[in-house]
Amino acid sequence: MSTPAAMAISAPTQKKTAAPLIVAAVVAAIGFALPSLGVPMTTLSLLAQASIVGVLATAVGFLVRQSGFVSFGHAAFYGGSAYLIALLAAHSKLSAEIILIAAPIIVLVAGFALAFIMLRTSGVAYSMLSLAAAQACFELMMKWRSIANGEDGLAIKLPREVFGLPLSIFQRPDSMFMVSWAVLVVIVVCLWFLSRSHFGTLTLAIKNNEERVRFLGYETLLPRAIIIALSAFIAAIGGVLFALYNGFVTPMALHWSLSGEALVIAIIGGTRAAWGPALGAFIFIFLRDIAGNNTTHWQGIVGITLIVVTVLLPNGISGALVTLWNRARGVSNV
C-alpha cells in the first residue's frame, strides 16, 4: 500500500492513459461527423488538405520526438511515394491496389537503407544531409524528362475503382476528408501506443543519452534506423493520399519548401505529443487560407505565428494545451 506521502508526490506526475484516449476518440468522432453537419465544401477541401499535410507533419514530428533529428528532406519520401505511384501506374502492369500498397513499402525500405548513411551524422549535419538527399530527388525528377516529364509533372493514371471504391471517393473533398482523417487518426493512435511501448521508451532514452543506453546493453544503431524508416513510411502514406486526391504530381512535391513547411507545421503544433503536428496542420492550412484571402503577404503572417509560437510556446500549441489540461486536473507538468 502506498504511503500518504508517496501518493501526494507521485500522483501529480503519473502517466495517465484513459483520459487521453477518451479525448482522442471524441475528437476523431467529431472529425468523422463534420461532412454530415453541412460544413461547406470549401472548408471540407481545406480539411482534406490539412489531413494529408498532417500525415507528413506527423512523420516529421515523430522523427523529432523519438530521435531528436530535424529533417529538411521529408518531402522526398512524400513526393517520392506519389512519383512511384505515377511511374508504376504508367509503366507497369501491376494493379492499382498493389501499386498503392507497394509505394510506401518501397519508401520504407529506401528510408531504412538511407538511415544507415544518415546515422553517420548528427545534429545540423543530419539536417543538411536530409536536405541534400531530397533536393537530389527533386533535381532528378526535374531533369529526367523522358521518365518524369520534368517540371510539368505526371498525371497519375488510376482505374475507375480502387480497393472496390469508385476513384471519385478519393477525389471529392468531403469523402477524401473522411479517408485522410481516418488515416491520420490511425497513424496518430499507433504512434501514441508506440511512444508508450518498450521500443518507444528505448528510442527516447537513446535520444537523451545514447552512450548510457549502450552501457545498459542495447545496440543503438538499429532502433534509430527503424525510427527514421518508420518516419519515412508515414510520410510516404501522406504521399499516397496526396496522389489519390490530386491525381497529379510535380517535382514541387519533392521540394525543400514542402519539407520546411512540414517542419514549421510540426513546430507550431508541437512535437512532444503524437497529435501535435496534426493539430499544427489544421491551424496552418486554415491560417494560410484566411491570411491568403486578406493579403498577398500570407507568408508574413505564418512567419509571425511561427515566431510567436517558438518564443511563447516552446512546446508548441499541443504542449500549451497539455499544460492547461494538466492544470485543470490539478496535475503538475514535469
Partner: protein, 231 residues
C-alpha cells in the same frame, strides 16, 4: 581468475594523462572501494573499466576478457553494470519504464522488477511516477535498481552518495549492505568514508592517478584517510 583486473593501466583524455600504472583486482562476490579526493582519476578509472577512456598502456580484463575488445553494449551483456555519477535517469520515463530499460541484457539471475521493488520499496510506490520527478536519493535507488535489472556479475557505483543528505546516504548504505549479502560483487567509487566502511571489504586509495595505498578496511588508518580522502 579475478572478475575484474586492471594491470598497470595508463589512461588519458587526449594528451592529458590521468591514470599511471594502476593495478587492482575485484574477486567474485567481493566488495571493493576506490577512495580518493576530487580529480584524482576515480571516474576515469570507471571509464577505463568500461572501455570509454583511452587505454595508453596496461590491460583491463573482465571475466577473463579484455575490456578494450568489448563493445559498449556487450559490456552489460557480459555482466558489467554501472551506476554512473549523476544517476542519468532518462527524462520522460516512469520509474517502471526506467527499470525495464535496464533488463536489456536478458541475463538470468535473482534480479527482476519485483526483487528491485523489495530492495527499494519506495520505487514500488512511485512505479508510475516520472523518474526525474523523484528526490535525489530515490533517483539513486532507481539508478541502482536499473543496473541490477541486468543481473550483473559486477556492479560499479560511481559516487552514489554525491549530493545526498546524510540520512539518505544511510538508507542507501543499508540497501547496499543487503545487496552485498546477496553476493553481488561491488566496485564502489566514493569519497564518503562512512558509506565505504559500511559496504566494502577492501579498499584502494587513488591519488594523482596512482594507487598509493590498498588493503582490508580494518587496516585503513585515520591518518591515511585524512591524507587522501575527505572525511
Amino acid at each position: 581468475m579475478s572478475l575484474l583486473e586492471l594491470e598497470s593501466v595508463d589512461a588519458a583524455y587526449g594528451k592529458a594523462k590521468v591514470l599511471h600504472g594502476v593495478s587492482l583486482k575485484v574477486e567474485k562476490g567481493e566488495r571493493v572501494a576506490i577512495l580518493g579526493r576530487n580529480g584524482v582519476g576515480k571516474t576515469t578509472l570507471v571509464n577505463t573499466c568500461i572501455g570509454v577512456a583511452r587505454l595508453n598502456g596496461g590491460q583491463v580484463s573482465f571475466g577473463g576478457k579484455k575490456v578494450s575488445t568489448i563493445r559498449a553494449f556487450t559490456a552489460a551483456r557480459s555482466g558489467l553494470a554501472i551506476v554512473p555519477q549523476g544517476r542519468r535517469i532518462v527524462p520522460g520515463l516512469t520509474v517502471r519504464e526506467n527499470l525495464i530499460l535496464g533488463s536489456a541484457p536478458n541475463r538470468s539471475g535473482p534480479w527482476n522488477q519485483e526483487a528491485v521493488f523489495n530492495l527499494f520499496p519506495i520505487l514500488r510506490e512511485r512505479a508510475d511516477t516520472l523518474g526525474t520527478a523523484m528526490s535525489g536519493g530515490q533517483q539513486q535507488m532507481l539508478a541502482i535498481g536499473r543496473a541490477l535489472m541486468a543481473n550483473p556479475d559486477l556492479l560499479i557505483l560511481d559516487e552514489p552518495s554525491e549530493g545526498l543528505a546524510p540520512v539518505v546516504v544511510d538508507e542507501l548504505g543499508d540497501a547496499l549492505v543487503r545487496l552485498a549479502q546477496n553476493g553481488t560483487s561491488i566496485l564502489l567509487i566514493e569519497q564518503n568514508f562512512g558509506l565505504v566502511h559500511k559496504i566494502s571489504e577492501r579498499y584502494y586509495v587513488l591519488s594523482k592517478g596512482s594507487v598509493v595505498e590498498q588493503g582490508s578496511m580494518r587496516g585503513l588508518s585515520l591518518e591515511s584517510l585524512k591524507k587522501h580522502v575527505s572525511v
